[in-house]
């Protein structure tokens, strides 16, 4: 299922973006809020995020090895993620991207010496990609509900202990350059403002609070996002 969303529907408000940078409500300095508004107004003119998910009707979860097998491909998702996927009857693999433009603008600003603007593009780009993934997940949730199923949270390689190298296995389910996303040897997605991962479906799974308190990764963006 392929979906696309205009940036105008994905851009968070100024306060929310400032919060992502660490600021309490109303406490971001004026040049930062000004720049957030300027960059948001600029991006809203042209951007569109793309997302795609594929549902696989059967998955095999190995409770000893903490692995999830989809069509013969075994994902070693590790205990935190496995605990949420273990009762899944089916799984959706997804990729989602804010597209190349926002990342390129960030790079151009940084290399041109305007580090603050480059940083703002970077933060806005990350939020656009995450919000697009959120919207795609909503759409999957509705599709699952129509068949009487629930969905889990979404989980990505590189987080909650899942080795980012397994991104290669995940991308093997999608045609090359799908949604314009390619993968480097080190499993870095290009465009960089992209999200990929797995979502479990079934009668015995549910969406839960993110299990950040069980994870040792203190600098994770999701720990900050879901705190």
């Amino acid at each position: 299922m392929r979906v696309s969303y205009p940036y105008s529907e994905l851009l968070p408000g100024c306060d929310a973006l400032a919060a992502t940078m660490g600021y309490a409500s109303g406490e971001a300095p004026e040049p930062v809020t000004e720049l957030i508004r300027e960059v948001s107004a600029e991006l809203v003119q042209f951007g569109e995020a793309k997302a795609e998910y594929i549902i696989f009707d059967s998955v095999r979860c190995d409770r000893v090895r903490k692995t999830v097998e989809v069509e013969g491909v075994e994902f070693s998702v590790k205990p935190i993620i496995f605990s949420q996927l273990r009762d899944a009857a089916a799984a959706a693999l997804f990729i989602c991207t804010a597209g190349p433009e926002v990342g390129e603008r960030s790079r151009r600003s940084m290399s041109g010496g305007d580090l603050l603007r480059g940083y703002v593009y970077d933060v806005v780009g990350s939020e656009i990609a995450e919000n697009a993934a959120e919207r795609m997940q909503d759409s999957l949730r509705a599709a699952a509900a129509a068949t009487g199923m629930n969905i889990t949270n979404r989980f990505s390689p590189g987080y909650c202990g899942w080795d980012v190298a397994e991104q290669h296995k995940l991308f093997s389910f999608f045609p090359d350059n799908y949604c314009g996303i390619t993968l480097t040897d080190s499993a870095l997605m290009n465009p960089v403002k992209s999200v990929s991962g797995i979502i479990g479906l079934g009668n015995r799974v549910r969406h839960r609070e993110y299990p950040c308190r069980n994870c040792s990764e203190m600098n994770c963006i999701y720990r900050r996002r879901f705190k």
Partner: protein
Amino acid sequence: MTELLERISACVEFGKVDIKSPYPPAMKDQEGAFELTRQALDAGIKPGEILEEALIPAMSRVGQKFSRNEIFVPQMLMAAKAMSSSMTHIKPYYLSGETKRRGTFIIGTVRGDLHDIGKNLVGMLIEGSGWEIIDLGVDVGTDKFAEAIEKHPGAVLGLSALLTTTMENMRKSVAELREKFPDLKILVGGAPVTEDFCRKIGADFYSPDPQGAVEYLKTLA
């Protein structure tokens, strides 16, 4: 003279680049780091004095506030920009040899990794503490690091990685460089890097924040 240095220091700390910068509001329409540094040099203050008594303490305060979560990345970038505007007047004195740097710091994001915001922040803070920065950019292989180290004998090296996959490349680079340059001091950093990992790969120092790197370098210079 002291007052001028204090004003330069405040401009850097609070990100007041030049007279046109509207921020911070309390300094609106006042001269910024750019103009005041020029004035200080014209008044006969030595560039080294501006660096030691205004810029370095200012960036140190910025780094400490960042470590304590009192300010965030944008304010650090604003301070770095103000410092950079001041440095445009001071850099010629480095080139002429009249002012000495504390040392040379080579920095880069390891092979396979394209993230650079953290690396840039560390580089800026270290530059603000009086070091020359050789920024090799992102996706840097061991050969490129080695070439820079050979070109700058006595330099300290900083490696950054933001992915668990590229931490492996960090491990390889450290091992290969350690073999070639046994006395080289190597700092490592990045979101997935830990003290334990630093020890295991044989690097010399890890800090979870840029200020830690600045403090460590002070012990070397």
